[in-house]
Amino acid sequence: MVFVPVFLLAVLAGCGGGERNGSINVFAAASLIDAFGEMKEAFEGENPGAEVRLNFAGSSALLTQIQQGAPADVFASADEEKMDSALEDGLVEEPRAFVTNELAVIVPEGNPAGIESLGDLAGESVTLVLAEDGVPVAEYTEALLSNADAEYGEDFSGRVLGNISSREVDVKAAANRVSLNEADATFVYESDITPDIEERVEIVEIPPELNVVATYPIAVASATQNEELAEEWVEFVFSEEGQRILESWGFEPAG
């Protein structure tokens, strides 16, 4: 039982290629790709010699990787549930919420399925994609849809979920399906509507009273090999500069 994770760890550590001083592995939710990418540049600029390696995936996949012994120094999840599981397993220390995000519906440019409102998502012959079951954005979407049942009729969420043609690895993959006009619509975070995506999609308004707030927690991993730098990265995320970068990518500050 212990054998397998230890083996995996050995292999993963081996791939790291020589332990350098001042490098950390940050495991972060896919929705943080752009913001953390920019923050890495800024952080490394301010801390010569430090190296931040970013590993992005759906938060659930990251949790599995960390549970299987992947060498993470920092974990940033798109929901509190994944972080709580990591905390229960003793894999992280003292998580703190650092940003929030809201959901948005995007459709390809030209809106081929004519989706003007949330209610239109339940229409027949609408091709929807959504992130994998268990990925935070999919769970937030399901919560939002059940909120909407009161407004649009009891079977609304069932009909919308019945229109799903593909389950994507993470929220970015779902957004790309729509920007490539392969699907009629998907749910993303507001922060996912980057300038690059915005050029090729249209945004459908979600009534604010139905929307859900996604809370992102971050924590240093218990097994970190470089606690000092890991903590510095977390500090940077909470710093004025870090928060400014996050806001510029569409995130909201946490309460």
Partner: protein
């Protein structure tokens, strides 16, 4: 000797780890979960369709490649090899840009109300793209090794071309055809990158076993392990059957 032991150990250890995890964590139940059963059914169905198409189209195509000279033959020959070298994810993007809803050809199909992406047909196309090479290449090598004199003497005896092909050439090339078919089928079964990019990932429609393993990683690690063990068992059965049948076929010829 030491090198071989190292290689064998390197391959065996991960496989043994899979089995040990399954035994110790009692992941058997996950094998009969709806996700696993749907994936199994879909993989069996799509690879069967893929193989039928490959055998029907690939056999005469391989024969032509082995026996005839024509302008552009070298180009066609190289084209057949490309999917084997191309990373599957690149193949998936290529398929998407050709047959996707906004693709080169797909755009025109959409106008007629035909959409391929997110359907089981797209899964078969991804498998065909990746797997056809392995059969066609092996089969054409097999056909090239069949002695022309044997075919010609059958012709002299009055047999028609197609009869000679089916009764003489195909049986003589059988070990090569079988080996190629097994390789092709394994590649189709393992197809992942092209499928997830071009066909998408939806239970029962496009989620084959490799995609189900990937998806279950997000939810239920035990289920992912169980499915992996299942394909491992598959792989053993396929390899041993193929070995046995090839030996038997060679026995007939001698």
């Amino acid at each position: 000797m030491a090198a071989l032991a190292l290689l064998a150990g390197f391959i065996a250890l991960p496989l043994v780890s899979l089995v040990i995890w399954t035994l110790s964590e009692e992941t058997w139940e996950a094998m009969t979960s709806p996700v696993a059963l749907d994936a199994l059914r879909l993989s069996a169905f799509t690879t069967a369709v893929t193989m039928v198409i490959i055998l029907i189209v690939g056999t005469p195509a391989a024969y032509v490649l082995a026996r005839y000279e024509f302008p552009g033959k070298r180009l066609v020959d190289s084209l057949v090899d490309i999917p084997a070298v191309l990373p599957p994810s690149a193949a998936g993007i290529a398929l998407l840009l050709a047959f996707g809803r906004a693709g080169l050809l797909g755009e025109h199909l959409t106008a007629f109300g035909i959409t391929i992406s997110f359907t089981t047909a797209a899964v078969v196309m991804a498998e065909l793209f990746a797997a056809s090479h392995f059969y066609v290449r092996q089969a054409s090598v097999g056909f090239a090794q069949v002695d022309r004199a044997v075919e010609e003497s059958a012709m002299v005896d009055g047999a028609r071309g197609i009869t000679v092909f089916l009764r003489v050439t195909v049986p003589l090339a059988f070990p090569a055809l079988l080996a190629g078919a097994v390789m092709s089928w394994s590649r189709a079964l393992g197809e992942f990158g092209g499928t997830i990019i071009f066909a998408g990932n939806f239970q029962g429609v496009t989620q084959t076993i490799p995609l189900a393993i990937f998806s279950e990683l997000e939810r239920d690690f035990d289920a992912a392990v169980a499915l992996s063990v299942l394909v491992l068992a598959f792989a053993f059965v396929v390899i041993f059957t193929a070995r046995y049948m090839t030996r038997k076929a060679q026995g007939y010829q001698e």
